[in-house]
Protein backbone atom coordinates (compact mmCIF):
# COMPACT_ATOMS: atom_id res chain seq x y z
CA UNK A 1 0.00 0.00 0.00
CA UNK A 2 1.31 3.45 -0.93
CA UNK A 3 2.18 6.02 1.73
CA UNK A 4 -0.58 8.32 0.44
CA UNK A 5 -3.15 5.55 0.86
CA UNK A 6 -2.04 4.84 4.43
CA UNK A 7 -2.26 8.50 5.45
CA UNK A 8 -5.65 8.74 3.76
CA UNK A 9 -7.04 5.68 5.55
CA UNK A 10 -5.74 7.11 8.83
CA UNK A 11 -7.55 10.43 8.26
CA UNK A 12 -10.73 8.73 7.07
CA UNK A 13 -10.85 6.29 9.99
CA UNK A 14 -10.18 9.05 12.49
CA UNK A 15 -12.90 11.19 10.91
CA UNK A 16 -15.44 8.39 10.97
CA UNK A 17 -14.66 7.61 14.61
CA UNK A 18 -15.03 11.29 15.54
CA UNK A 19 -18.32 11.55 13.63
CA UNK A 20 -19.62 8.49 15.49
CA UNK A 21 -18.58 9.90 18.87
CA UNK A 22 -20.14 13.29 18.07
CA UNK A 23 -23.33 11.54 16.99
CA UNK A 24 -23.45 9.58 20.26
CA UNK A 25 -22.75 12.76 22.23
CA UNK A 26 -25.57 14.56 20.41
CA UNK A 27 -27.96 11.68 21.10
CA UNK A 28 -27.01 11.79 24.79
CA UNK A 29 -27.54 15.56 24.98
CA UNK A 30 -30.90 15.22 23.21
CA UNK A 31 -32.08 12.56 25.63
CA UNK A 32 -30.64 14.32 28.71
CA UNK A 33 -30.89 18.02 28.02
CA UNK A 34 -28.85 20.01 30.52
CA UNK A 35 -30.58 23.26 29.77
CA UNK A 36 -33.90 22.40 31.33
CA UNK A 37 -32.59 21.98 34.88
CA UNK A 38 -32.36 24.89 37.25
CA UNK A 39 -29.28 25.33 39.37
CA UNK A 40 -30.39 27.24 42.42
CA UNK A 41 -28.30 27.23 45.55
CA UNK A 42 -31.19 27.27 48.01
CA UNK A 43 -28.95 27.50 51.07
CA UNK A 44 -27.12 30.48 49.63
CA UNK A 45 -30.43 32.26 49.00
CA UNK A 46 -31.61 31.48 52.53
CA UNK A 47 -28.34 32.80 53.98
CA UNK A 48 -28.63 35.97 51.89
CA UNK A 49 -32.17 36.50 53.20
CA UNK A 50 -30.99 35.94 56.78
CA UNK A 51 -28.09 38.38 56.27
CA UNK A 52 -30.64 40.96 55.20
CA UNK A 53 -32.32 40.57 58.58
CA UNK A 54 -35.33 38.66 57.25
CA UNK A 55 -36.61 35.19 57.93
CA UNK A 56 -36.70 32.99 54.82
CA UNK A 57 -40.17 31.57 54.28
CA UNK A 58 -39.81 27.86 53.63
CA UNK A 59 -42.09 27.37 50.66
CA UNK A 60 -43.14 23.83 49.95
CA UNK A 61 -41.27 23.55 46.67
CA UNK A 62 -37.65 24.21 47.69
CA UNK A 63 -36.98 20.46 47.59
CA UNK A 64 -38.41 20.07 44.09
CA UNK A 65 -36.41 23.07 42.85
CA UNK A 66 -33.23 21.68 44.42
CA UNK A 67 -33.51 18.43 42.44
Amino acid sequence: MKKQDKIFILFLSLSFILISVILIENVYITLNPKTITLNIDVNKIKNDIKDAGLIPYDAKYWDIIKK
Binding site: F8, F11, L12, L18, I22, P33, A59, Y61, I65
Partner: protein, 454 residues
Protein backbone atom coordinates in the same frame (compact mmCIF):
# COMPACT_ATOMS: atom_id res chain seq x y z
CA UNK B 1 -23.70 2.99 -11.82
CA UNK B 2 -26.47 0.73 -10.57
CA UNK B 3 -25.21 1.29 -7.05
CA UNK B 4 -26.36 4.93 -7.15
CA UNK B 5 -29.88 3.75 -7.96
CA UNK B 6 -29.76 1.47 -4.93
CA UNK B 7 -28.45 4.30 -2.75
CA UNK B 8 -31.23 6.60 -3.98
CA UNK B 9 -33.86 3.97 -3.20
CA UNK B 10 -32.42 3.41 0.30
CA UNK B 11 -32.49 7.16 0.96
CA UNK B 12 -36.09 7.49 -0.23
CA UNK B 13 -37.17 4.53 1.93
CA UNK B 14 -35.45 5.93 5.04
CA UNK B 15 -36.78 9.44 4.47
CA UNK B 16 -40.36 8.41 3.77
CA UNK B 17 -40.39 5.89 6.63
CA UNK B 18 -39.16 8.55 9.04
CA UNK B 19 -41.58 11.11 7.65
CA UNK B 20 -44.67 8.93 7.99
CA UNK B 21 -43.52 7.50 11.33
CA UNK B 22 -43.31 10.98 12.85
CA UNK B 23 -46.51 12.11 11.10
CA UNK B 24 -48.62 9.20 12.25
CA UNK B 25 -47.21 8.50 15.71
CA UNK B 26 -49.61 9.43 18.53
CA UNK B 27 -49.19 12.93 19.90
CA UNK B 28 -47.42 13.20 23.24
CA UNK B 29 -49.99 13.35 25.97
CA UNK B 30 -50.00 16.47 28.05
CA UNK B 31 -47.30 16.05 30.64
CA UNK B 32 -49.24 17.54 33.49
CA UNK B 33 -46.58 16.72 36.05
CA UNK B 34 -43.99 18.73 34.09
CA UNK B 35 -46.42 21.64 33.77
CA UNK B 36 -47.21 21.70 37.49
CA UNK B 37 -43.51 21.52 38.33
CA UNK B 38 -42.94 24.43 35.95
CA UNK B 39 -45.74 26.37 37.70
CA UNK B 40 -43.93 25.85 41.01
CA UNK B 41 -40.68 27.09 39.49
CA UNK B 42 -42.16 30.29 38.06
CA UNK B 43 -44.27 31.02 41.17
CA UNK B 44 -42.35 29.45 44.07
CA UNK B 45 -44.37 31.31 46.72
CA UNK B 46 -47.60 29.63 45.64
CA UNK B 47 -48.87 26.78 47.77
CA UNK B 48 -51.62 25.57 45.50
CA UNK B 49 -52.58 25.70 41.85
CA UNK B 50 -55.94 25.39 40.14
CA UNK B 51 -56.57 23.20 37.13
CA UNK B 52 -55.73 24.74 33.78
CA UNK B 53 -58.89 26.56 32.71
CA UNK B 54 -60.16 29.80 31.26
CA UNK B 55 -59.79 31.65 28.00
CA UNK B 56 -56.90 32.02 27.51
CA UNK B 57 -55.85 28.85 29.34
CA UNK B 58 -53.98 29.45 32.59
CA UNK B 59 -53.28 28.11 36.07
CA UNK B 60 -54.28 30.20 39.10
CA UNK B 61 -51.75 30.27 41.94
CA UNK B 62 -52.92 30.50 45.55
CA UNK B 63 -51.28 31.09 48.91
CA UNK B 64 -52.91 30.57 52.30
CA UNK B 65 -53.53 33.80 54.20
CA UNK B 66 -53.23 33.25 57.96
CA UNK B 67 -55.18 36.41 58.77
CA UNK B 68 -58.22 35.75 56.63
CA UNK B 69 -57.87 31.94 56.84
CA UNK B 70 -58.51 31.83 53.10
CA UNK B 71 -56.45 31.15 50.02
CA UNK B 72 -55.43 34.34 48.22
CA UNK B 73 -54.82 34.52 44.50
CA UNK B 74 -51.18 35.58 44.18
CA UNK B 75 -50.52 35.03 40.50
CA UNK B 76 -51.15 33.23 37.25
CA UNK B 77 -49.08 30.74 35.29
CA UNK B 78 -49.58 29.95 31.64
CA UNK B 79 -47.95 28.17 28.69
CA UNK B 80 -46.96 30.20 25.65
CA UNK B 81 -47.78 27.23 23.40
CA UNK B 82 -51.41 27.31 24.67
CA UNK B 83 -51.90 30.98 23.87
CA UNK B 84 -49.58 31.68 20.94
CA UNK B 85 -48.98 28.26 19.30
CA UNK B 86 -48.27 29.87 15.93
CA UNK B 87 -44.93 31.24 17.21
CA UNK B 88 -42.22 28.60 17.09
CA UNK B 89 -38.46 28.53 17.31
CA UNK B 90 -35.96 27.58 14.64
CA UNK B 91 -36.65 23.84 14.85
CA UNK B 92 -40.16 23.69 16.29
CA UNK B 93 -42.31 24.85 19.20
CA UNK B 94 -40.71 26.09 22.41
CA UNK B 95 -42.84 25.39 25.49
CA UNK B 96 -42.42 28.24 27.98
CA UNK B 97 -44.20 28.53 31.34
CA UNK B 98 -44.64 32.14 32.42
CA UNK B 99 -45.48 33.14 35.97
CA UNK B 100 -46.94 36.60 36.68
CA UNK B 101 -48.29 38.31 39.76
CA UNK B 102 -51.77 39.80 39.94
CA UNK B 103 -50.43 43.28 39.19
CA UNK B 104 -49.27 42.13 35.79
CA UNK B 105 -45.53 41.77 36.36
CA UNK B 106 -43.57 38.74 35.18
CA UNK B 107 -42.12 36.79 38.09
CA UNK B 108 -40.20 34.23 36.08
CA UNK B 109 -40.25 32.26 32.83
CA UNK B 110 -39.16 28.64 32.51
CA UNK B 111 -38.50 26.67 29.31
CA UNK B 112 -40.16 23.27 29.67
CA UNK B 113 -39.11 21.84 26.32
CA UNK B 114 -37.57 22.79 22.99
CA UNK B 115 -35.93 21.21 19.95
CA UNK B 116 -33.36 23.92 19.24
CA UNK B 117 -29.68 23.08 18.80
CA UNK B 118 -28.45 22.13 22.31
CA UNK B 119 -25.00 23.72 21.99
CA UNK B 120 -26.59 27.16 21.58
CA UNK B 121 -28.82 26.78 24.62
CA UNK B 122 -26.10 26.73 27.26
CA UNK B 123 -26.88 30.34 28.24
CA UNK B 124 -30.64 29.80 28.37
CA UNK B 125 -30.90 30.57 32.11
CA UNK B 126 -29.18 33.92 31.60
CA UNK B 127 -31.56 34.72 28.75
CA UNK B 128 -34.75 33.81 30.63
CA UNK B 129 -33.64 35.80 33.71
CA UNK B 130 -34.04 39.00 31.64
CA UNK B 131 -37.81 38.64 31.64
CA UNK B 132 -38.11 38.98 35.41
CA UNK B 133 -40.01 42.12 36.49
CA UNK B 134 -41.12 43.07 32.96
CA UNK B 135 -44.67 44.41 32.98
CA UNK B 136 -47.31 45.34 30.39
CA UNK B 137 -45.64 48.68 29.75
CA UNK B 138 -42.21 47.13 29.17
CA UNK B 139 -40.68 46.69 25.76
CA UNK B 140 -40.00 43.16 24.62
CA UNK B 141 -37.31 43.88 22.04
CA UNK B 142 -34.43 41.54 21.33
CA UNK B 143 -31.36 43.66 20.85
CA UNK B 144 -32.76 46.52 22.94
CA UNK B 145 -33.81 45.55 26.46
CA UNK B 146 -33.37 41.82 25.87
CA UNK B 147 -30.00 40.37 24.86
CA UNK B 148 -30.33 37.48 22.44
CA UNK B 149 -28.73 34.07 22.95
CA UNK B 150 -25.47 34.15 21.02
CA UNK B 151 -25.92 32.76 17.46
CA UNK B 152 -29.56 31.88 18.20
CA UNK B 153 -31.41 35.01 17.14
CA UNK B 154 -34.44 33.21 15.76
CA UNK B 155 -34.83 31.21 18.99
CA UNK B 156 -34.44 34.35 21.12
CA UNK B 157 -36.98 36.29 19.08
CA UNK B 158 -39.43 33.40 19.09
CA UNK B 159 -39.29 33.06 22.89
CA UNK B 160 -39.59 36.84 23.34
CA UNK B 161 -42.56 37.19 20.97
CA UNK B 162 -44.33 34.18 22.47
CA UNK B 163 -43.86 35.44 26.04
CA UNK B 164 -44.95 38.97 25.15
CA UNK B 165 -48.03 37.90 23.20
CA UNK B 166 -49.27 35.39 25.77
CA UNK B 167 -48.40 37.68 28.73
CA UNK B 168 -50.35 40.60 27.26
CA UNK B 169 -53.25 38.34 26.30
CA UNK B 170 -53.52 37.03 29.88
CA UNK B 171 -53.10 40.52 31.36
CA UNK B 172 -55.87 41.89 29.14
CA UNK B 173 -58.40 39.05 29.29
CA UNK B 174 -57.89 37.66 32.81
CA UNK B 175 -56.42 40.49 34.87
CA UNK B 176 -58.35 43.09 32.82
CA UNK B 177 -55.38 45.41 32.54
CA UNK B 178 -55.21 48.06 29.83
CA UNK B 179 -53.03 47.00 26.93
CA UNK B 180 -52.32 49.68 24.34
CA UNK B 181 -49.84 47.84 22.08
CA UNK B 182 -51.09 45.50 19.38
CA UNK B 183 -50.52 41.89 20.26
CA UNK B 184 -49.83 40.69 16.74
CA UNK B 185 -46.26 41.42 15.77
CA UNK B 186 -45.16 40.13 12.42
CA UNK B 187 -41.47 39.89 11.70
CA UNK B 188 -40.58 41.98 8.69
CA UNK B 189 -39.06 40.12 5.75
CA UNK B 190 -35.64 41.28 4.64
CA UNK B 191 -35.70 41.25 0.79
CA UNK B 192 -31.89 40.86 0.70
CA UNK B 193 -32.28 37.40 2.18
CA UNK B 194 -34.12 36.42 -1.00
CA UNK B 195 -32.41 38.50 -3.69
CA UNK B 196 -28.77 38.01 -2.70
CA UNK B 197 -28.88 34.17 -2.70
CA UNK B 198 -30.64 34.24 -6.08
CA UNK B 199 -27.92 36.48 -7.53
CA UNK B 200 -25.25 34.22 -6.05
CA UNK B 201 -26.76 31.09 -7.58
CA UNK B 202 -27.08 32.82 -10.96
CA UNK B 203 -23.38 33.76 -10.87
CA UNK B 204 -22.46 30.20 -9.86
CA UNK B 205 -24.60 28.69 -12.64
CA UNK B 206 -23.16 31.06 -15.22
CA UNK B 207 -19.66 30.15 -14.05
CA UNK B 208 -20.48 26.52 -14.80
CA UNK B 209 -22.19 27.00 -18.17
CA UNK B 210 -19.72 29.59 -19.49
CA UNK B 211 -16.75 27.58 -18.12
CA UNK B 212 -15.47 30.74 -16.45
CA UNK B 213 -13.14 30.02 -13.54
CA UNK B 214 -12.99 33.67 -12.53
CA UNK B 215 -16.75 33.75 -12.04
CA UNK B 216 -16.50 30.49 -10.10
CA UNK B 217 -14.04 32.00 -7.60
CA UNK B 218 -16.23 35.08 -7.27
CA UNK B 219 -19.20 32.84 -6.45
CA UNK B 220 -17.13 30.81 -3.96
CA UNK B 221 -15.81 33.96 -2.26
CA UNK B 222 -19.29 35.50 -2.12
CA UNK B 223 -20.70 32.24 -0.75
CA UNK B 224 -18.02 32.12 1.93
CA UNK B 225 -18.69 35.72 2.99
CA UNK B 226 -22.48 35.78 2.72
CA UNK B 227 -23.61 32.28 3.68
CA UNK B 228 -20.63 31.50 5.89
CA UNK B 229 -19.59 34.63 7.76
CA UNK B 230 -22.62 36.92 7.53
CA UNK B 231 -25.59 34.55 7.70
CA UNK B 232 -23.98 31.40 9.23
CA UNK B 233 -26.44 29.45 7.12
CA UNK B 234 -25.30 26.51 5.01
CA UNK B 235 -27.15 23.49 3.80
CA UNK B 236 -26.93 20.83 6.47
CA UNK B 237 -28.22 17.32 7.03
CA UNK B 238 -30.08 18.87 9.99
CA UNK B 239 -32.34 20.67 7.52
CA UNK B 240 -33.08 17.46 5.64
CA UNK B 241 -33.91 15.74 8.94
CA UNK B 242 -36.14 18.68 9.93
CA UNK B 243 -38.02 18.44 6.63
CA UNK B 244 -38.69 14.79 7.35
CA UNK B 245 -39.76 15.65 10.90
CA UNK B 246 -41.93 18.55 9.66
CA UNK B 247 -40.02 20.87 11.99
CA UNK B 248 -38.87 23.48 9.51
CA UNK B 249 -39.13 27.10 10.68
CA UNK B 250 -41.74 29.33 9.14
CA UNK B 251 -40.73 31.19 5.99
CA UNK B 252 -40.75 34.60 7.70
CA UNK B 253 -38.34 33.32 10.37
CA UNK B 254 -35.79 31.82 8.00
CA UNK B 255 -36.37 32.85 4.36
CA UNK B 256 -32.72 32.30 3.48
CA UNK B 257 -33.03 28.63 4.39
CA UNK B 258 -35.98 28.13 2.07
CA UNK B 259 -34.22 29.96 -0.76
CA UNK B 260 -31.06 27.92 -0.24
CA UNK B 261 -32.95 24.62 -0.30
CA UNK B 262 -35.04 25.54 -3.35
CA UNK B 263 -32.17 26.97 -5.39
CA UNK B 264 -29.86 24.05 -4.56
CA UNK B 265 -32.57 21.64 -5.68
CA UNK B 266 -33.27 23.54 -8.90
CA UNK B 267 -29.59 23.93 -9.86
CA UNK B 268 -28.95 20.27 -9.04
CA UNK B 269 -31.76 19.19 -11.33
CA UNK B 270 -30.57 21.54 -14.06
CA UNK B 271 -26.77 21.31 -13.97
CA UNK B 272 -25.60 19.16 -11.05
CA UNK B 273 -23.68 20.03 -7.88
CA UNK B 274 -23.60 23.80 -8.39
CA UNK B 275 -24.00 24.49 -4.65
CA UNK B 276 -21.21 22.09 -3.67
CA UNK B 277 -18.71 23.15 -6.29
CA UNK B 278 -19.36 26.86 -6.72
CA UNK B 279 -21.02 28.22 -3.54
CA UNK B 280 -20.49 26.08 -0.43
CA UNK B 281 -18.41 28.16 2.03
CA UNK B 282 -16.71 25.14 3.60
CA UNK B 283 -15.95 23.64 0.20
CA UNK B 284 -14.31 26.88 -0.86
CA UNK B 285 -12.29 26.99 2.36
CA UNK B 286 -10.98 23.47 1.79
CA UNK B 287 -10.00 24.33 -1.79
CA UNK B 288 -8.00 27.34 -0.61
CA UNK B 289 -6.22 25.25 2.03
CA UNK B 290 -5.39 22.57 -0.55
CA UNK B 291 -4.06 25.12 -3.06
CA UNK B 292 -1.86 26.82 -0.43
CA UNK B 293 -0.32 23.55 0.75
CA UNK B 294 0.08 22.31 -2.83
CA UNK B 295 2.47 25.17 -3.52
CA UNK B 296 4.93 23.65 -1.04
CA UNK B 297 4.41 20.09 -2.20
CA UNK B 298 6.39 18.62 -5.09
CA UNK B 299 4.14 15.62 -5.60
CA UNK B 300 0.36 15.43 -5.45
CA UNK B 301 -1.17 12.82 -3.17
CA UNK B 302 -2.81 10.40 -5.59
CA UNK B 303 -4.92 7.63 -4.12
CA UNK B 304 -5.27 4.11 -5.42
CA UNK B 305 -8.42 3.94 -7.53
CA UNK B 306 -10.06 1.20 -5.44
CA UNK B 307 -9.51 2.98 -2.13
CA UNK B 308 -10.77 6.24 -3.58
CA UNK B 309 -13.92 4.68 -5.09
CA UNK B 310 -14.87 2.62 -2.05
CA UNK B 311 -14.21 5.49 0.38
CA UNK B 312 -16.72 7.66 -1.45
CA UNK B 313 -19.55 5.43 -0.23
CA UNK B 314 -18.83 6.47 3.37
CA UNK B 315 -20.77 9.72 2.98
CA UNK B 316 -23.90 7.74 2.11
CA UNK B 317 -23.50 5.67 5.27
CA UNK B 318 -23.27 8.94 7.22
CA UNK B 319 -26.48 10.24 5.59
CA UNK B 320 -28.42 7.09 6.38
CA UNK B 321 -27.10 6.85 9.94
CA UNK B 322 -27.84 10.47 10.89
CA UNK B 323 -31.30 10.39 9.34
CA UNK B 324 -32.27 7.09 11.00
CA UNK B 325 -31.12 8.32 14.42
CA UNK B 326 -32.92 11.66 13.98
CA UNK B 327 -36.16 10.03 12.88
CA UNK B 328 -36.12 7.51 15.73
CA UNK B 329 -35.57 10.25 18.32
CA UNK B 330 -37.98 12.63 16.57
CA UNK B 331 -35.28 15.29 16.86
CA UNK B 332 -32.72 16.58 14.34
CA UNK B 333 -30.11 17.57 16.96
CA UNK B 334 -28.14 14.30 16.68
CA UNK B 335 -27.48 15.16 13.02
CA UNK B 336 -25.31 18.15 14.02
CA UNK B 337 -22.09 16.41 12.99
CA UNK B 338 -20.80 18.67 10.23
CA UNK B 339 -17.53 20.54 10.91
CA UNK B 340 -18.66 23.72 9.17
CA UNK B 341 -21.17 24.17 12.03
CA UNK B 342 -18.13 24.43 14.30
CA UNK B 343 -16.14 26.69 11.97
CA UNK B 344 -18.79 29.29 11.25
CA UNK B 345 -20.80 29.19 14.46
CA UNK B 346 -17.84 28.68 16.89
CA UNK B 347 -20.15 27.51 19.63
CA UNK B 348 -19.47 23.86 20.14
CA UNK B 349 -17.61 21.22 22.13
CA UNK B 350 -13.89 20.40 22.18
CA UNK B 351 -14.74 17.27 20.22
CA UNK B 352 -16.26 19.40 17.47
CA UNK B 353 -13.12 21.53 17.26
CA UNK B 354 -10.94 18.41 17.17
CA UNK B 355 -12.97 17.05 14.28
CA UNK B 356 -12.80 20.37 12.42
CA UNK B 357 -9.00 20.38 12.84
CA UNK B 358 -8.69 16.82 11.51
CA UNK B 359 -10.82 17.66 8.44
CA UNK B 360 -8.90 20.86 7.66
CA UNK B 361 -5.54 19.10 7.99
CA UNK B 362 -6.78 16.26 5.77
CA UNK B 363 -7.99 18.88 3.25
CA UNK B 364 -4.42 20.10 2.90
CA UNK B 365 -3.42 16.65 1.61
CA UNK B 366 -6.54 15.54 -0.25
CA UNK B 367 -8.67 17.87 -2.36
CA UNK B 368 -11.93 18.72 -0.55
CA UNK B 369 -11.53 15.79 1.85
CA UNK B 370 -14.86 16.44 3.62
CA UNK B 371 -16.85 17.08 0.43
CA UNK B 372 -15.65 14.05 -1.51
CA UNK B 373 -15.69 11.39 1.21
CA UNK B 374 -17.84 12.48 4.16
CA UNK B 375 -20.31 15.30 3.40
CA UNK B 376 -23.92 14.11 3.70
CA UNK B 377 -25.20 17.06 1.64
CA UNK B 378 -22.63 16.21 -1.02
CA UNK B 379 -24.02 12.68 -1.05
CA UNK B 380 -27.61 13.87 -1.50
CA UNK B 381 -26.84 16.51 -4.14
CA UNK B 382 -24.76 13.85 -5.89
CA UNK B 383 -27.75 11.51 -6.05
CA UNK B 384 -29.95 14.33 -7.37
CA UNK B 385 -27.30 15.25 -9.98
CA UNK B 386 -27.71 11.83 -11.59
CA UNK B 387 -30.94 13.11 -13.19
CA UNK B 388 -29.76 16.62 -14.06
CA UNK B 389 -31.01 18.08 -17.31
CA UNK B 390 -27.58 19.22 -18.48
CA UNK B 391 -24.28 17.38 -18.07
CA UNK B 392 -20.67 17.60 -19.22
CA UNK B 393 -20.57 15.43 -22.34
CA UNK B 394 -17.97 13.98 -24.70
CA UNK B 395 -17.90 14.38 -28.47
CA UNK B 396 -16.02 12.43 -31.14
CA UNK B 397 -12.98 14.70 -31.01
CA UNK B 398 -11.64 12.81 -27.97
CA UNK B 399 -8.24 11.22 -28.71
CA UNK B 400 -8.00 9.32 -25.40
CA UNK B 401 -5.10 11.35 -23.97
CA UNK B 402 -6.54 10.91 -20.41
CA UNK B 403 -5.71 14.53 -19.48
CA UNK B 404 -9.23 15.06 -18.12
CA UNK B 405 -8.96 12.00 -15.88
CA UNK B 406 -5.62 13.10 -14.46
CA UNK B 407 -6.68 16.71 -13.97
CA UNK B 408 -10.02 15.99 -12.25
CA UNK B 409 -9.55 16.97 -8.59
CA UNK B 410 -12.34 14.73 -7.26
CA UNK B 411 -11.44 11.68 -9.42
CA UNK B 412 -14.90 11.84 -10.97
CA UNK B 413 -13.64 10.78 -14.41
CA UNK B 414 -13.08 7.12 -15.27
CA UNK B 415 -12.23 5.40 -18.51
CA UNK B 416 -14.51 2.89 -20.25
CA UNK B 417 -13.41 -0.19 -22.20
CA UNK B 418 -12.53 2.00 -25.20
CA UNK B 419 -10.42 4.29 -23.01
CA UNK B 420 -12.96 7.08 -23.41
CA UNK B 421 -13.66 9.20 -20.33
CA UNK B 422 -16.93 8.86 -18.42
CA UNK B 423 -17.79 11.63 -15.96
CA UNK B 424 -19.41 10.47 -12.73
CA UNK B 425 -21.95 13.27 -12.27
CA UNK B 426 -22.57 12.41 -8.63
CA UNK B 427 -18.91 13.11 -7.82
CA UNK B 428 -18.40 16.00 -10.26
CA UNK B 429 -18.32 19.40 -8.51
CA UNK B 430 -18.46 21.29 -11.82
CA UNK B 431 -15.10 22.99 -11.52
CA UNK B 432 -14.85 22.63 -15.34
CA UNK B 433 -11.10 21.90 -15.20
CA UNK B 434 -11.62 19.02 -17.62
CA UNK B 435 -13.33 21.23 -20.19
CA UNK B 436 -10.67 23.91 -19.86
CA UNK B 437 -7.68 21.53 -20.10
CA UNK B 438 -8.98 19.37 -22.96
CA UNK B 439 -6.74 20.21 -25.94
CA UNK B 440 -9.23 18.74 -28.45
CA UNK B 441 -12.26 20.61 -27.01
CA UNK B 442 -13.95 17.24 -26.75
CA UNK B 443 -15.84 18.06 -23.53
CA UNK B 444 -18.81 20.39 -23.50
CA UNK B 445 -22.03 21.21 -21.64
CA UNK B 446 -24.95 19.48 -23.27
CA UNK B 447 -28.44 18.20 -22.64
CA UNK B 448 -28.71 14.79 -21.02
CA UNK B 449 -30.63 12.65 -23.52
CA UNK B 450 -31.07 9.46 -21.48
CA UNK B 451 -27.85 8.07 -22.85
CA UNK B 452 -25.98 5.40 -20.96
CA UNK B 453 -24.13 8.07 -18.97
CA UNK B 454 -23.11 7.61 -15.37
Amino acid sequence: MKKYKTLSIIFIIIFLSGFFWNLLKPCESLDLKKEIEACKIVLPEAENFSKKTGNPLHYKAFKFNNKTQKEDLIGLAFLTTDISPEISGYAGPIKVMVGIDIKGTINKIHIISHTETPSYMTTLNKFTAQFKSLDIKSKFKVGKNIDAISRATITSEAITRAVEKSFKSISKNILHLKITDTLDQKTSLDPNQISLPIILFIIASLAAILVNRGLRWIALAAGFIYFGLVKNTMLSIIHIANIGLLKIPKFNNAPILYILLILTGITCLLFGRIYCGNICPFGGLQEIIYKIFNIFRSKKFILTKKIDQHSKYLKYIIVFLTLIVSFILGNSNPAAIEPFLTFFKTNTSKLGFTFLTVVLIASSFYFRFWCVYLCPIGALTGLLSKISLFKIKLNDKCKGCKTCKEICPTNAIHLDKNQRPIIESSECIICNKCIKKCSEKALYWGKNKNEKTR
